[in-house]
């Protein structure tokens, strides 16, 4: 009975972050330590930079719609593609996922907040700081960094104007700050998941999203120091004149490639693992079935973490690495297909024989899975050395990567945003606009990124500002797809803004989903369950089993309905 009473009184006095309360919006522009505020800060910042990065992408596709370098100068194109990649990775996808982590992890495990709230806020506020630094590089003499988001030396060390403050230096500074922010975030997420779970929530009762977030953040902690170290040496080479990577001073440019990919390949798993988590959360809800093989899906995440750290050389097959290294890293890369396959088959088995409800969130999850499987099979092709030698650094890789990062990861993020939007804003979104957004995104993604595969097979290198006329046909289609993707953002933003302002009030559990976050009011109060954390008595995803998730579940649900 204590928990019932607790819920009721808590709801009454909860400082609800509901829109309409006087000056309530100001908390989003302050050094607020509430994980739910920080989560929304992350997501809003990330979506702003999605627009910036998307705009750059559309200018690039405008240039590439014809073979000649005619729309923008080559130097400008090189700056655009460098900044597009950098912004999309460091200012869109990582922040947006950290936003989801902030919103979901404490609520899902029944914690009042993150383990280190001030560190959490500091990690977030670094994002706008390095965002401004990166944007400022458009304004310095000589223009922004233009050596790609890999920033391979020696080309990244060429500083035509010789200024100390140049686009490349600002780029390295921004990336280093991003790394620091991510490490601060990772410390927080890992600690929170390990130490702050509700009573009764053993690791094997933890929602898969938390498993994948834990796995991904572990990679951050292991991998980021390598990148940061590599980047610091690059900065020294650039501004102080050391020779870590300069061949003329006895350095080795290939060393940088090792540092870079030791982190940057696992980084792809940092991105995709939480999206696997989103799929694992959504499919059971909208198929009304338990997740098939929960322990296997959870364990596969950890296997992926282990393997992700020993595959980086597959980015370097043509870099002059010895044959044994090519073979060894091909085998490890191939092995990743196994845990990934376990997950995909588990999702299919979850859907099989279910009672599917195709709302916007579910459509995005299904579309994301479709694109992910396509990216998976091209990934196997890329793992095999001889095929990789042919398509490495061609548009085939660009296509594969965008199927992962946009087709699967970003669509998974959209799915998550729609699914948890009612929970964290207290308002329902508009299904019509959502479905329009899905349709445009799904068609746009495939129009934009599929043509890159035939282009790569034909031998069109990536990062080119002009190309031979035989590549024109598929490039025109890709460009049209890119413009469609630009259009697809309109119903999305319209939906977010209008639903938050005037959407119907959301009940506590609009999807009839199982999970601690759905036992909180929508939106949840500042400290979630405060002192009345329910005791978890069974594993997640008990759809159709009739098992309650927590003690006194009926009473908590009744209290939520009455509120």
């Amino acid at each position: 009975m204590t928990s019932t009473a607790g819920v009721e009184s808590r709801i009454l006095r909860a400082p609800h972050p509901v829109p309409g309360a006087p000056d309530n919006w100001k908390r989003f522009f302050s050094f607020n330590t509430d994980a739910k505020v920080i989560g929304i800060q992350y997501i809003a910042t990330a979506l702003f930079f999605l627009l910036v990065g998307g705009l750059l992408a559309m200018i690039m596709r405008g240039e590439l719609i014809t073979p000649e370098a005619d729309l923008v100068d080559r130097t400008v194109y090189n700056g655009l593609y460098t900044m597009h990649g950098t912004i999309m990775l460091f200012l869109f996808i990582f922040p947006v996922l950290n936003g989801l982590n902030n919103l979901l992890i404490p609520c899902m495990i029944g914690a009042p907040d993150m383990a280190f709230p001030k560190l959490n806020a500091a990690a977030f506020w670094l994002v706008p700081v390095f965002g401004v630094i990166l944007m400022a590089s458009f304004l310095v003499p000589g223009g922004p960094a233009s050596s790609g988001w890999w920033s391979y030396p020696p080309v990244s060390l060429q500083n035509p104007l010789g200024h100390l403050i140049n686009g490349e230096a600002l780029w390295i500074l921004a990336v280093a700050l991003s790394g620091i922010s991510s490490i601060m975030g990772a410390v927080n997420f890992v600690t929170t998941i390990l130490r702050m779970r509700a009573p009764g929530m053993t690791l094997t009762r933890m929602p898969i999203f938390c498993w994948t977030a834990f796995s991904a953040q572990t990679i951050q902690l292991i991998g980021l120091p390598a990148l940061t170290g590599g980047a610091v040496m690059l900065l020294f080479d650039l501004v102080v004149g050391t020779s870590f990577y300069r061949p003329e001073g006895g350095g080795d440019p290939v060393l940088y490639q090792h540092f870079f990919w030791f982190y940057s390949h696992p980084a792809v798993y940092v991105i995709i693992l939480p999206v696997f988590g989103v799929f694992s959360e959504l499919f059971p809800v909208y198929a009304r079935k338990p997740l098939f093989g929960y322990p296997f899906v959870a364990g596969a995440s950890l296997v992926i973490v282990g393997l992700s750290l020993i595959v980086w050389v597959h980015h370097m097959f043509p870099s002059g690495v010895p044959q044994w290294m090519r073979d060894a890293f091909m085998v490890t890369t191939m092995l990743i297909a196994v845990p990934t396959g376990i997950k995909v088959f588990a999702w299919l088995a979850t859907l099989w024989g279910g009672k599917l409800r195709l709302n916007t969130a579910m459509l995005f999850a299904l579309g994301g899975l479709f694109n992910f499987v396509f990216a998976g099979v091209t990934g196997i092709m890329l793992a095999t050395v001889p095929v990789d030698i042919h398509v490495n650094n061609t548009y085939f890789v660009v296509g594969h990567f965008h199927y992962v990062i946009y087709g699967a990861a970003t669509m998974g993020v959209y799915a998550a945003i729609y699914h948890w939007f009612p929970k964290f804003t207290g308002h329902m979104y508009y299904e019509g606009l959502g479905k329009l957004h899905f349709l445009l995104t799904f068609i746009g993604t495939n129009l934009n990124f599929f043509p890159m595969h035939p282009l790569g097979l034909m031998g069109m290198p990536r990062r080119v500002s002009s190309y031979d006329p035989e590549f024109a046909f598929w490039n025109v289609i890709a460009s049209l797809g890119a413009f469609l993707l630009g259009v697809s953002i309109i119903p999305f933003l319209l939906n977010l803004v209008s639903s938050w302002v005037r959407g119907a009030k959301s009940p506590a559990n609009p999807w009839n989903a199982i999970g601690l976050e759905w036992l909180l009011p929508s939106p949840p109060p500042a400290e979630n369950f405060e002192d009345h954390v329910p005791t978890v008595i069974s594993g997640p995803y008990g759809y159709g089993t009739g098992r309650p998730l927590v003690e006194h579940q009926d009473e908590i649900e009744r209290a939520l309905l009455q509120a």
């Binding site: 090189n78 035509p160 003329e248 043509p318 044959q323 196994v338 088995a349 050395v385």
Partner: protein, 309 residues
């Protein structure tokens, strides 16, 4: 909860069998389409790569279409009725299935890996490792031909120069004899470039401070594109050259005639565009590294003639 083994009624079993047969046929057909997506194959490595890629395409088609057909099936036939708020039958897992779909992919990818390692051996892409991994000497600048390096390939920002030290010829168009294995000695004077001839299916980074020997056998006469495949700065996209594969006699004849020609500036689209920018004919953008002057060569050749791939 013990799940009783699912009993398949005959119609369902037949449906499954028909679907598997169709899926296999489709996969085999897709694998056979591969040559249409790739450039002509013009080296001894190309058929091996294409064969592997065809096999992978067939496997990939099977997996992708297999998964998607399950998704289509559930979306079509496992939808909840409009007002049906109930849950589906709670199946929480099946260890036998988990083992099956762990072991089959494992065996499959390891089989692909074994096949690939064999193809790797056959292609023998890189010459002896001491060439590729020798200590980076500060001034391994061109002029010291290595054994096996019949042609010296010098990459610059942004032009390609090909030197034939024995014949005393230099060119900005690469000529290769048909059906003879030879070594290209790849060197860069500035940044990392990539030596990539799509028709040969071969690619190798050209790393400053190293001399890497790439062995290849051209197997089809014709004119092909050589592209820079590692981003090398402003005129990266324009850093292309042509490769002419011709019979041994024609090749020797070309070398003989070329050796008598006087040196003249070779091809460099970058230098040409840069000059246009300096004279104001072409707008310029951000700051750039100045292109190296076009190399002085016996034969500039062409990079605008129609090419075969």
């Amino acid at each position: 909860m013990t799940t009783t083994p699912q009993r398949f009624p005959l119609p369902r079993l037949i449906g499954l069998a028909v679907w598997l047969v169709l899926l296999t046929l489709l996969s085999v057909w897709m694998g056979a389409q591969v040559p249409r997506w790739l450039p002509v194959s013009a080296s001894s490595a190309a058929p091996l790569v294409d064969g592997l890629f065809g096999f992978e395409t067939a496997v990939a088609t099977f997996v992708f279409v297999g998964v998607v057909s399950v998704m289509v099936w559930v979306v079509l036939f496992n939808r909840a009725e409009k007002y049906d708020m109930s849950d589906a039958e709670p199946i929480e897992g099946n260890t036998t299935l988990e083992i099956v779909w762990t072991v089959i992919p494992l065996v499959l990818v390891m089989a692909i890996a074994a096949y690939t390692i064999q193809v790797n051996r056959e292609i023998g892409l890189i010459g002896p490792m001491d060439h590729a991994h020798g200590p980076a000497t500060a001034n391994s600048a061109p002029a010291t031909p290595l054994p096996g390096g019949e042609v010296q390939v010098i990459a610059r920002q942004w032009s390609w120069e090909f030197r034939y030290p024995v014949a005393g010829v230099s060119s900005t168009e690469l000529h290769l004899p048909l059906d003879r294995r030879l070594g290209l000695q790849l060197e860069s004077e500035d940044v990392i470039h990539g030596f990539y001839v799509p028709a040969f299916r071969l690619k190798q980074q050209v790393i400053p401070g190293r001399s890497i020997t790439l062995f290849l056998t051209a197997t089809r006469p014709g004119r092909y594109r050589l592209r820079d495949s590692e981003y090398s700065g402003t005129w990266f996209a324009a850093n292309q050259a042509d490769v002419v594969v011709e019979s041994e006699e024609a090749y020797q004849e070309w070398l003989r005639r070329a050796s008598r020609l006087p040196l003249q500036p070779g091809l460099s689209d970058a230098a040409r565009e840069y000059a246009q920018q300096l004279s104001g004919e072409r707008p310029s953008g951000y700051a750039t590294i100045e292109p190296a002057p076009p190399p002085l060569v016996n034969v500039p050749g062409s990079n605008t003639l129609p090419h075969d791939g």
